[in-house]
């Protein structure tokens, strides 16, 4: 089939427009389709990835989603609102992840296989991460020791934690 506009090339873009029951069909070559512009661009956009993502983000009624996000939910570092994020599908700054944390889990569960990272850890930040994980571990042990009245063990843990905290402050 030839393009109905230039009558020269093969029609490769086929579009059917239905407006209040009235059907119009278009058969265009790629070139004429791009030149034709608007409505085809719109049709393509319907499948645009951002829209798909923001569609996911707006599935508020779906099970597993916490109740409606407060309109005022906003990142206090870059100023992006949650509303804006759902429209563009992009965060404004690294801190947004923390600001919108309450809304993020269900989204990540949908688009990713899990909600925690198990891959590479940057070398420099890695040291801090390791230390922080170790501290958390020790604090848990300390709580346990106190709860089970093992005071000697608790004192030892307390000293170790204090020492580690001083190290990271330096």
């Amino acid at each position: 089939m030839l393009c109905q506009k230039c009558h020269e090339r093969q029609a490769t873009v086929h579009l059917k427009k239905i407006i209040s029951g009235e059907e119009t069909e278009y058969h265009l070559c790629e070139q004429c389709a791009t030149e034709q512009g608007d409505f085809i661009a719109q049709a393509m956009q319907a499948f645009d990835f951002n829209h798909l993502l923001s569609g996911l983000l707006n599935m508020e009624a779906a099970p597993g989603y916490p109740a409606q996000a407060p309109a005022a939910l906003r990142c206090d570092v870059c100023g992006m609102t949650y509303q804006q994020f759902t429209q563009v599908g992009r965060f404004g700054c690294p801190h947004c992840y923390e600001s919108f944390a309450s809304r993020l889990d269900p989204l990540l569960r949908r688009i990713q296989s899990s909600t925690s990272h198990t891959g590479k850890v940057p070398r420099r930040a890695g040291e801090q991460v390791k230390r922080r994980r170790h501290l958390e571990q020790l604090r848990k042990q300390l709580n346990h020791a106190v709860a089970t009245e093992q005071y000697e063990e608790a004192a030892r843990l307390r000293d170790e934690i204090r020492q580690l905290e001083q190290m990271s402050e330096n």
């Binding site: 599908g89 700054c93 198990t118």
Partner: protein, 357 residues
Amino acid sequence: MSLSDFLQQAISRWMKDGGPQDDIILSSRIRIARNLQDLPFPILQTDVHADQVIQEVQKALASSAVAKLGEFEFARCRDMSQLDRYVLVEKHLISKDLAEQVRHGALALRKDEVMSIMVNEEDHLRIQVIMPGLRLNEAWQLANAMDDALEQQMPYAFDDNLGYLTACPTNVGTGIRASVMMHLPGLVISGHINRMLSAVSQVGLTVRGLHGEGSEAAGNIFQVSNQVTLGESEEEIINNLTSVVHQLIDHERSARRLLLQQNRELLEDRVCRSFGLLAYARQMDSKETLQRLSDVRLGIDLGIIKGVSAGILQELMVMTQPAFLQKYYGQELSPGERDLRRAALVRERLRLDTEVR
């Protein structure tokens, strides 16, 4: 400039050297997304922020750790012509998004064009390595080394639990996108392709056409890549992709064998007909060119066509794109003129392989 000289200069390594399984795998690519701490992502970037990121990257590029990984050229998008930017897109060295980031975008490109660093695209940094054949591990190791070298110079946005923080939640975690460009004419001709591809999408991988998201699979070329970036390690992601790719290779090989056994005449006719058209046609649009090139490449792989270099598919699929054609002929070309010049370029290129009968 003669065509062969132009080719010498214009072709990236991934388009000319072979590699493992290069009868089916055209290229392997690793891209990792990274962002700097305490700076807004490019979507909210001011000129000052953008300059700051660019300065940090330039400083890092000058460090000895990065210097060990090769010699890089650095340029801001605004200092390159639009045509040059689009040539880079067609060579798969930068993304279209970066080419359009005229004000804030920048690029570091290794001399052999194996590695590029896109600056201020969707994320502050996108490290990309592209290699011919099936070499995901090698590509990852190189990208990983660059990542380590850059990280020594600038602190990344990283979260204990979520990993590397990226502008889009689909990249968070490892920030890695591993992809393989495959030529699968056997599966397409035999009609098994859709079944294969839907199986692939069920194991957490995505399949796209030659030009990425939303493009159709012109020339029987498909890009298979990982979809998930959070919850699996880089090695798991690469191993998973590699094992699926190996299965696709096996299926493609047996489809080709079957075609040869059962439909030899038909196949030979198709291949030689396409070769004839490429060798003599006076005008051709890019879609037909890709389809014919795919046929000829299949003919070369199956020994039906001899004396033509196998790399012709990768080479010409890039060189017959609009920006590249205009670069070669040194002038702006309307779509109609492009079809004429495209056919001329293909004829000329085929003639370079002297043994053409």
